[in-house]
C-alpha cells in the first residue's frame, strides 16, 4: 500500500514572535459547507489564508465523457445543488449548438422562466446563509420558508423539488407546463416580492456587520477572475445575458444592478436587486409565452444513442453565482471526447477568498465567506 501524500499547503511558516497559530475554518464547520480554509492567525487577525478544496470532487468532466447527452443532462443538475436548472441550461445549450438542434420557440421561453426562478431561489438561499453567518437567524428561517414556495413550482413543473433531473434537456424541455403552472408562478412571484420587501428593510445589524468588510476593488476583482454578483458589487457593469444574449434575453427588458463600494454589504444589495430583475424577466416572458411544441420533434423520446457530429463548442451563460461555461469536444465516432466545465465559484472561493481574508478579524470570516455566494459543489465539480 502506498503512503498517502503529504499535504503541501499545510506548512506553517516559523513564527517570528511566537504568537501565530494555525486555524481551520471548515470543512466540518456548520457555516462553511464542504469546504475549508486554513488560516494562520496572529491574535484575532488573519495573517494568511489558504483555501482547502477537494471535499466534494465527483469527477463530472470524466463522467460526462462516457455518457450520452441526455444522461449528462441528468448529471448536470448536480453541478450546483442550489441552482440545478441554470446548469441544465448551460449543458443543454452546449449540446444544442454542437448537434445543431433547432429549439422550439416555446421551449426557449420555458427555459428562461425556469432558469430565472432558479436564480431567485439561489439568491434566497444566499440571503439565508449570509444572514445565518452573521448571526441573524430570523433571516435564515425566513429565506428558507419563502424558498419552499419556489420548490412547490418546481415540483409541479419538473416533478422534483430540488433536482429537476435534466428538465432542460438537449432539444428543449422534457415536459410542457401543466395548465395551472402560469397561475402558480404568478402567485409565487407575489410571495417573492414579500420576501424582497423584508430583505430590503435595512436591518441595522446587517449593515453594521457587513459595511466596509471584505472590500474588493474592481481592478483586483478583474485580475482575480471574479464574475457575476461579486464583480457587479465592485462596480463593473457586466452580465452575459446582456453582453452575449442567449435564448430570448435579447427580447427582454431588464437592468444590470451594480454597486460601487465592493464590500460585503454591496454584494448583498446586488443580490436583492437581481431578484427584482429576475421577477421582471419572468413577468415579461409569461406575458408573451407562445404556444407550440416544447421539444424538437426528433428528441420527443429520450434516445440511447445520439450521434454527435465531430466538432467543439464553448457556451457561456450567466448563472446566479457568475459566469458558467461548458466546453464540449466530440470525435469522429460520435462520442464526447472532452468536456470542460467552467464554474464561477472556483475563482471566487480560491483566489478571491484568499485575497479578501488577509488581514481581517476572525469574526468577519463568515461574513466575507458567504458574501461571495459560494457553492462548494460547483467549485469541486
Amino acid at each position: 500500500m502506498s503512503k498517502p501524500l503529504e499535504p503541501v499547503i499545510n506548512e506553517l511558516e516559523p513564527c517570528p514572535n511566537g504568537t501565530e497559530y494555525n486555524f481551520y475554518f471548515g470543512p466540518a464547520h456548520p457555516g462553511s459547507g464542504n469546504f475549508g480554509v486554513k488560516l494562520i492567525i496572529d491574535g484575532e487577525k488573519v495573517v494568511s489564508a489558504r483555501a482547502d478544496p477537494g471535499y466534494l470532487h465527483r469527477g463530472f468532466e470524466k463522467l460526462m465523457e462516457y455518457r450520452t447527452p441526455i444522461q449528462n443532462a441528468v448529471l448536470s443538475d448536480r453541478l450546483c445543488v442550489l441552482e440545478p436548472l441554470n446548469w441544465n441550461l448551460v449543458h443543454a445549450e452546449a449540446v444544442d449548438e454542437l448537434m445543431d438542434i433547432q429549439v422550439p420557440e416555446r421551449a426557449k421561453y420555458i427555459r428562461v422562466i425556469m432558469a430565472e426562478l432558479s436564480r431567485i431561489q439561489s439568491h434566497i438561499i444566499w440571503y439565508g446563509v449570509f444572514s445565518k453567518a452573521i448571526g441573524f437567524d430570523t433571516g435564515f428561517k425566513m429565506a428558507f420558508g419563502y424558498r419552499d414556495y419556489i420548490l412547490d413550482v418546481f415540483e409541479l413543473i419538473t416533478g422534483g423539488r430540488v433536482y429537476p433531473t435534466g428538465y432542460i434537456c438537449p432539444g428543449g424541455v422534457r415536459r410542457d407546463f401543466p395548465s395551472s403552472a402560469k397561475e402558480k408562478i404568478v402567485h409565487v412571484i407575489d410571495k417573492m416580492k414579500e420576501m424582497i420587501k423584508l430583505g430590503e428593510l435595512g436591518n441595522p445589524a446587517m449593515a453594521a456587520r457587513t459595511q466596509d468588510i471584505g472590500v474588493l476593488d474592481m481592478k483586483v476583482a478583474i485580475r482575480l477572475g471574479a464574475t457575476g454578483p461579486v464583480l457587479r458589487g465592485s462596480g463593473m457593469k457586466t452580465d452575459v445575458r446582456k453582453d452575449e444574449p442567449y435564448e430570448i434575453y435579447d427580447q427582454l427588458d431588464f437592468e444590470i444592478p451594480i454597486r460601487k463600494q465592493g464590500d460585503a454589504y454591496a454584494r448583498y444589495w446586488v443580490g436583492i436587486e437581481e431578484m427584482k430583475q429576475s421577477i421582471a424577466i419572468i413577468r415579461q416572458a409569461l406575458d408573451i409565452l407562445p404556444q407550440g411544441e416544447v421539444i424538437a420533434a426528433k428528441y420527443q423520446k429520450p434516445k440511447i444513442t445520439m450521434k454527435i457530429p465531430e466538432g467543439e463548442v464553448y457556451v457561456r451563460n450567466e448563472v446566479a453565482r457568475g459566469e458558467a461555461a461548458f466546453y464540449l469536444a466530440s470525435d469522429k465516432n460520435g462520442r464526447i471526447l472532452r468536456s470542460k466545465i467552467r464554474g464561477p465559484d472556483f475563482l471566487h472561493m480560491i483566489p478571491v477568498l484568499e485575497y479578501l481574508l488577509q488581514g481581517k478579524q476572525i469574526a468577519d470570516i463568515p461574513a466575507i465567506y458567504w458574501s461571495l455566494n459560494i457553492c462548494p459543489a460547483d467549485m469541486d465539480r
Partner: protein, 123 residues
C-alpha cells in the same frame, strides 16, 4: 412595514409549516417517486436498463416458480442507486414502468430498496 403591524400580522397568521404526520401538503401530479412496474405490459426490450444514468436497472430472470409464464429477462430496480430522473418512464414503449407519487421510501432494511420484477413466494 412597522414592527407593530408586523407583530400583529404574525400573531394572527398561520405558520408556514404543517404538522406533518397529521396533515401533509398534497404532492403534485407528475411527481417522480417510487416506480410502479407492470410485468404483463413489459416486452423485455431493456431500454430502461440502457438509458438509466445510474445503472440502477438490471435485467434478470424471474424466480423459478414463475419461469414457465415469464421466460424472458425483466428489470430489477435498485432504488438505492436510483436518482428518480424518470428517463425509464419516458423511454418505455409500453408504459410498463411509471413513477408514482410514493415518496415514503425510508427503511431500516437495505434489501427493501431492491424491487424485483415479481415478488418471491413467501416473501
Amino acid at each position: 412595514m412597522g414592527i407593530v403591524s408586523l407583530l400583529f400580522k404574525n400573531l394572527f397568521s398561520k405558520p408556514m409549516t404543517v404538522r406533518f404526520p397529521h396533515e401533509s401538503i398534497p404532492i403534485a401530479k407528475g411527481y417522480r417517486g417510487e416506480h410502479v412496474y407492470d410485468i404483463d405490459k413489459c416486452m423485455s426490450c431493456a431500454l430502461c436498463a440502457k438509458i438509466c444514468p445510474n445503472r440502477a436497472i438490471e435485467m434478470i430472470d424471474v424466480s423459478s416458480e414463475y419461469k414457465d409464464r415469464y421466460a424472458k429477462k425483466y428489470p430489477k430496480i435498485d432504488l438505492g442507486k436510483c436518482c428518480f430522473c424518470g428517463l425509464c418512464e419516458d423511454i418505455c414503449p409500453t408504459d410498463a414502468i411509471i413513477l408514482s407519487k410514493n415518496v415514503f421510501l425510508s427503511t431500516f432494511d437495505q434489501s427493501n430498496m431492491i424491487r424485483y420484477p415479481l415478488p418471491k413466494k413467501g416473501r
